[in-house]
Symmetry: C2
Subunit: 476 residues, 2 copies
C-alpha cells in the first residue's frame, strides 16, 4: 500500500506487474519460472473454476484425475506432439533414491497418458462418448516469467473427449468453444473473437484448433481459450479402436480443450486502472465493502450500529466486508479496497445516518452516488449487474475503436509498429505470407473469425486472391 | 459388471481392489506407483473437498497455490524434515532440454517452499496470523501401489498457518483436528479416535502431531487425518521473524495439517459389502436412482410416465438417475447401481402405479420398503438421513465390538496376530517398548486418545508405571 502503481501510460508492463504484486494476487517464487498464487488471486480462480465446472457438468461432462508424470515413450508416440512439447518439459530422472530406467516427464498437457487409459476403457460404441475433464497443474519450461501470463507451472482445466464419429467430435469442440465464449463475456466481461487458428498456430497433434481472442488495454491480443478437434491422431498413436454398431473396428475420434490461470492475467489487463484491480462483480468472492466513518466516540457508536444493520441486510446474499479497523483512516481504507478491486464500496458517515442514506461508489467508474438506506440490498444487486454489463460494453467499445480494416501492407506495418490494435486484412491462406508478417512485424494471425464477411480481396502480403479477412495482432 | 467381487471373508484385500476397479472408482496407470482417479471416484473427492473447503472458509482460512517443484537446498534446511522426506522424492534434473544446476524435488509436502514465501510476507505482528490452505497433488515415491491407500502421487489439502504465539498455533492445530473429526463422523460416517501421536510416529519436523484414527472392516486402523504443531522449527530453518507489539523480534509459530484421497479408501473399507460400494448419502453426488420395470409396451407407457413424475418431484433437491435404458433387464440395473453405491433405489412396476406406491431399497441394509407416492420427496430425505446416521452407528458398534482392554502381552499378541482389533493397553512412554511391539507384532500405537481415562497401570511390555491406556493396532 505504501508503494505506488506505475501509471499505464508510463509503462504498461510495469503497471501490470505492480497491480499483481500490490493487490497480492501473485508473487514471484524462489523457483525460476514459477509463481505463487496468493489468496486474492486464487479467489478469482475459484470463481472461474466454479462457474466453468458447473457449465461443463450441465453439458454432461465429468471430472477425473490422471497422473502428473508421463513416461518418455508415451510423449514420443504422436509425432507432432513430441516435436511441439518435448523441448519444454521438466524431466524426472531420479525416484526414491534410484536413477529411473525410463525418464518421466511432468505433464505439459495430458493427451498421451489419457489416451493410454482410453485404450483400456474403450471396446465398443457403448463405451462412447467419454466426456472427461481434469482440473490440474501442468508445466512447460519457461525462464522469463510474467505473472499469470507466462509461468512454467500453471493451473488449468483440460477436457479430453472420445467419440464414435468425426461429426460428434466436431460438435463437442464447438460446444466447448461456446462455453468459453460465455465464460469470457458473461463472467470476465471480456468480448472475444471466436474463430479457427491457422495451421501454423494450431495445437501440436490437432486436426484444427479453435480459439477465443481478446484485446488488452495495450491493444495486444490474448488467446483466452482453445478447443481442438484431434481427429483420429491420438487414437492411432495409441491404437484405440472400437467396435461400431455394425461390428467393424474403427479408430476413435478425439477432442481436447483448455483454459488456464492465464485468464486472471487477461482480466487484469483488460479492465484494471491506475488505482489497481477492477474486478467484474461475477468473479468477486467479496463484492461489497462497507467503510464506516467517524470522528468522535459518539459518532462511532451511531455509525457502527447503522453500518452493522446494512451488513446484516446484505450478508445473506453477498460476502460483505465491514472494515471497522481502528488503526486506519478512511482514505487509506478506500485506496486499499480500490487496489484490491472490490466492486462496490458503501461509505457511511454521521450525516448519512441522519439522512437514512449512504454513499455508494462503483469501482469501475469511481462515481459517487447517494442512495437510500431502504432497499439497499436491491440497490446493490442492481449496481453489480449494471457494472458487469458496463464493463463488457466498455471493453467492446475499446476493441471496436482499435480494430482497423487495412488493405495496404505499409499501412498495416505502420499500425502494428505504432499504437497497435486488431487489424482485419485479407490473407491468401499461404503459410509463407503468414510467416513473413510474423517475422517482419511480430504480428500473427489470431484466428479466422467464424463471423467474418464473405468478401473478395487481395492478400495483404502477396496480392493473391482471398475470400475474407483474418485478424492480425501482436499477442501475449 | 460381468466380473464378480471376491467376498470379504475369502480375501479382504482382493475384495477391496475388486470394488475399486469394478465400481470404476480408480484404475492402475502405466506409470509405476500412480493411479487414475476415475469419474466415480473423483465425484466422491469433490464432495469431500467441497464440504471441507466450506468448513475451512467458515473458520477464516483462505486458499492459495504454491509451486510444485522445490529446490533441493530448501528441502535440506530442516534437519528432521529432510531425513523424513528426501528418500521418498521424485527429482527433476532436466528442464527445457538443459541439465539443471540445482535439482528440483516434486513436493512431498509444501512446508519448505511455503516458509520461504512467508519469510517475504511476514514482517510484523500485523501480518499474523496467516491461515492458508492449498488443494494440490503431492508425490512420495512408492512402488507397491494400493489404489487410494498407497500411491506415489495423491491429491490432498495441506494447511500451513503462521502465528504470533505457541498458544495460538496450538489452538489452530486443535481447531482443525475438530474439523477433521466432523468430516469423518458426519460425512464419511466414520467414527474416529482423536489423539496425539507418539514421538516415533509424529510428522518429520513437528513438535507434536495429532491424528484421527478409524477402524476398517478387517479391524485394522487407518489414519484418516493429521494436524501438526510445528512450533518454531520451520521459522528457524527459514529465518522467519516478526516484530511483536513491544518491538521485539521473535520467530513465528507454525502449524500444518492435511487429509488426502486416502479418505476414499477409508470409506470403501469401512462401509462396503460383497455387492460393492456403500456410499454415505452426504458424499453421494447422485443419491437416488429410479428403476422403472415393465414387460409390455402398455405397461411401459404407464410406468415411465409415473417414474418421470417421481423424477420431477425429486430433481429440484437431488441429482436423480432415471435408468430407463432399454437394453438392460431390471436385475442387471439393480446390481449395477448397487456396485456403484447409489444410496437409495426406487423401483416402479405396473402394480406400484396402480397402488400409487413404490418400492424403496436402501443400499446399506438392502431392505425393501413399500412407500406411498405421496410425500416421496420427504420420504427420500428422511431415509437418506437415517441411512447416514445408521452407517455411523453401525461402524461405531463394530469398532466397540473389536476393541479390547488388554493387560497381558501374551494375550495382546494373540489378538494382534489373530483376528486383530484396537487394543487399549498401558504404555510407559518409552520408545523402546513401542519399537519392540512394532517389531514383534507389527502393531503400532495409533495415538494417545484425548478421551482416555486417567488410570494407573503397568506397561504391557516392560511393566513400568503408566498413567493411562493408548491404542495399539495394525494399520494401513
Amino acid at each position: 500500500m505504501a508503494e505506488k502503481i506505475t501509471p499505464r501510460h508510463v509503462d504498461y508492463s510495469r503497471w501490470y506487474t505492480d497491480i499483481v504484486l500490490q493487490a497480492k494476487l501473485a508473487d514471484y517464487s524462489p523457483v525460476k519460472g514459477a509463481m505463487v498464487i496468493r489468496p486474492n488471486g486464487y479467489a478469482i480462480w475459484e470463481m472461474i473454476r466454479e462457474n466453468l465446472d458447473r457449465m461443463f457438468k450441465e453439458s454432461g461432462h465429468v471430472n477425473a484425475y490422471f497422473p502428473l508424470l508421463i513416461p518418455e515413450s508415451f510423449m514420443q508416440k504422436e509425432a507432432e506432439h513430441v516435436e511441439g512439447f518435448s523441448p519444454e518439459c521438466a524431466i524426472v530422472t531420479i525416484g526414491g533414491g534410484q536413477k529411473l530406467e525410463e525418464p518421466l516427464y511432468i505433464r505439459p498437457t495430458s493427451e498421451t497418458i489419457i489416451w493410454a487409459m482410453y485404450k483400456k476403457w474403450i471396446m465398443s460404441y457403448r463405451d462412447l462418448p467419454i466426456l472427461i475433464n481434469q482440473w490440474a497443474n501442468v508445466l512447460r519450461w519457461e525462464m522469463r516469467t510474467r505473472l499469470f501470463l507466462r509461468t512454467s507451472e500453471f493451473l488449468w482445466q483440460e477436457g479430453h473427449t472420445a467419440h464414435a464419429t468425426y461429426e460428434e467430435a466436431e460438435e463437442e469442440t464447438l460446444k466447448i468453444l461456446d462455453i468459453y465464449k460465455k465464460m469470457a463475456e458473461e463472467y470476465l466481461a471480456l468480448p472475444v473473437i471466436v474463430g479457427r487458428k491457422t495451421d501454423a498456430e494450431k495445437f501440436a497433434g490437432a486436426e484444427h484448433t479453435y480459439s477465443i481472442e481478446a484485446m488488452m488495454q495495450d491493444r495486444k491480443a490474448l488467446q483466452a481459450g482453445t478447443s481442438h478437434n484431434l481427429g483420429q491422431n491420438f487414437a492411432k498413436a495409441f491404437d484405440v479402436q472400437f467396435q461400431d454398431q455394425d461390428g467393424n473396428l474403427q479408430y476413435v475420434y478425439a477432442t481436447s480443450w483448455g483454459v488456464s490461470t492465464r485468464l486472471i492475467g487477461a482480466l487484469i489487463m483488460a479492465h484494471s486502472d491506475d488505482r489497481g484491480l477492477v474486478l467484474p462483480p461475477r468473479l468477486a468472492q467479496r463484492p461489497v465493502v462497507i467503510v464506516p466513518i467517524w470522528r468522535s466516540a459518539e459518532e462511532k457508536t451511531a455509525v457502527l450500529k447503522y453500518a452493522e444493520s446494512v451488513f446484516e441486510e446484505l450478508k445473506g446474499q453477498y460476502r460483505v466486508i465491514l472494515d471497522d479497523r481502528e488503526q486506519y483512516k478512511p482514505g487509506f481504507k478506500f485506496a486499499d479496497w480500490e487496489l484490491q478491486g472490490i466492486p462496490i464500496r458503501l461509505e457511511i458517515g454521521p450525516r448519512d445516518v441522519e439522512k437514512d442514506a449512504l454513499v455508494l461508489v462503483r469501482r469501475d467508474t469511481m462515481e459517487k452516488q447517494f442512495v437510500a438506506r431502504k432497499g439497499i440490498l436491491q440497490t446493490v444487486t442492481d449496481e453489480l449487474q449494471h457494472m458487469q454489463k458496463d464493463m463488457l460494453q466498455r471493453a467492446l467499445k475499446f476493441r471496436e475503436e482499435n480494430t482497423f480494416q487495412v488493405d495496404d501492407y505499409a499501412e498495416f506495418r505502420k499500425i502494428v509498429e505504432g499504437e497497435g490494435g486488431f487489424i482485419e486484412s485479407h490473407w491468401c491462406g499461404d503459410a509463407a505470407c503468414e510467416t513473413r508478417v510474423k517475422e517482419e512485424t511480430k504480428a500473427t494471425i489470431r484466428n479466422i473469425p467464424f463471423e467474418r464477411k464473405k468478401e473478395s480481396g487481395k492478400c495483404i502480403v502477396c496480392g493473391k486472391e482471398s475470400q475474407g479477412r483474418v485478424v492480425f495482432a501482436k499477442a501475449y
